[in-house]
Amino acid sequence: MKQDKNRGGPIRVEELDPNFRSEVMKHGEAQELNACFACGICTAGCPVHEIFPEYSPRKLAKMVKLGMRKDVLSCPYIWDCVTCHNCEQRCPQNVKFFNILNVLKNMAAEEGYAPNPWVEQTKQIIKTGLVFPTDEALFEKRRSFSLPDLKLDGSKVKKIIKLTGIDKIKSQTKG
């Protein structure tokens, strides 16, 4: 079981951040958040919720509205989303929770909560343009099937990544 030490017990009012909701909603992708009436169909269809009941899109949406900044951004389960899009596909209010979650993950990453594999993938695509390392054995295998060589040039990706600043994100310095 994952450590989620901030959860459980009553909401600590002194820790609420009244600006958190507007901070999230200033991202275009999260604008429909106010339309959520907490019916929970997102959570009912979420395969990750089935595995980790602690992970609940409905609950997270409510927590954002209440301003529970620290609890939301440090929640380890937000990184387990399988990106199946069921939450937004089934939402009767057209809330795109998948996009809201991405906004939350981006904010959490800036605050040092990003899991190492995602940070490492960024380092890798800067090198070769692809998220997986390659080696001579692969090149040989590809040639044996007459498949074209891979170019493996990360220079343009590097420029793009630098423009967004995510090359500076460090993995899980907190949480």
Binding site: E50, D80, V82, P115, W118, Q121, T134, L150, T164, I166
Partner: protein, 296 residues
């Protein structure tokens, strides 16, 4: 027949080259021309975890590279399909497109919104068509029963796919399987995600989801699963083996990529043209049942 820019993505050309091999071969047989663009890079979907803007910029860069050559993109990976198609939708917004193009221009690129994205199965379904596929079948696979798995991003977000298929009750892969003569199974966990996108951070999620689907399929008398994404492939085949090893289970369901199944029906060489020997779980029993007298 139409020409497409072939978008390989990251995983197929490095870990599942039989998908690339069989896709190239099948498209050649059916007159779909694939153009390699060596400047293509990662579609950006995983970068969305850290920055949605980075994910969008990478997608836009790839779209711009195809557009420069006057081509639409043909994808193999479901996730690349979903992310690129969703990005096409986002970039219809003038403000977003201007912001993105201001950055792309630094690399001498611009995306005007012309290049579009289609998954290989959609190209087979729409451009070639079920009837024309049937006309080309050389080997009848009607002895085979196959469980289709669509892949979430092949269908969703629905807004990115123009009503191509119904995410809640998808039919296109069933029809593509039927075209080969094989029987496509309808089953309870059809729409269950493979978990592949959380594989780098959570094996627990993958093990649970893969087992849930395999449990559903174990006593359904099927010869294989048929997938249309290399990540789904890796979850249901390589992780099936991993689950057997680590959890002492005895799952034994071979997994084919759709172009491999279609390739067999089109008379392709199982090994050299379709790369069946590269699949993790042996397909010899399936080949024998299909009456293809070649061991791999």
């Amino acid at each position: 027949m139409k020409r497409y820019a072939l978008f390989l993505g990251c995983t197929t050309p490095t870990q599942v080259i039989q998908y690339e091999l069989s896709s190239r071969w099948v498209c050649k047989q059916l007159g779909i021309e694939m153009v390699d663009i060596e400047d293509f890079v990662c579609c950006g979907i995983n970068q969305v975890n850290l920055s949605q803007e980075a994910g969008l910029l990478l997608a836009a860069m790839n779209l711009a590279l195809a557009e420069k050559r006057g081509l639409d993109i043909l994808t193999l990976c479901a996730a690349c399909t979903g992310h690129l198609a969703e990005s096409v939708e986002r970039l219809k917004n003038q403000e977003t497109r201007d912001r993105v193009n201001n950055k792309l221009r630094k690399m001498g690129l611009e995306y005007k919104g012309e290049a579009k994205v289609k998954h290989i199965s959609r190209v087979l379904y729409e451009d070639v068509g079920i009837d024309r596929i049937k006309e080309k079948i050389k080997i009848d696979l009607s002895n085979l029963r196959a469980a289709p798995h669509y892949g979430c991003h092949y269908l969703k977000p629905e807004s990115a796919f123009n009503g191509f298929d119904d995410p809640d009750n998808p039919k296109t892969l069933h029809k593509l399987i039927s075209a080969t003569g094989a029987f496509p199974l309808q089953y309870e966990t059809l729409n269950l995600c493979c978990g592949g996108k959380s594989f780098p951070v959570s094996r627990e999620v993958v093990f649970y989801l893969v087992q849930k689907k395999l449990d559903n399929l174990m006593n359904r008398n099927i010869d294989c699963m048929v997938v249309q994404c290399q990540t789904c492939y890796l979850m249901y085949s390589d992780q099936q083996e991993e689950i057997n090893k680590q959890l002492k289970k005895r799952y034994n369901i071979p997994v084919l990529l759709y172009p491999q199944l279609l390739g067999l029906a089109l008379g392709g060489d199982p090994k050299n043209e379709l790369g069946l020997d590269l699949n993790t779980i042996s397909l010899n029993r399936l080949l024998a049942k299909a009456g293809i007298n070649r061991r791999i």
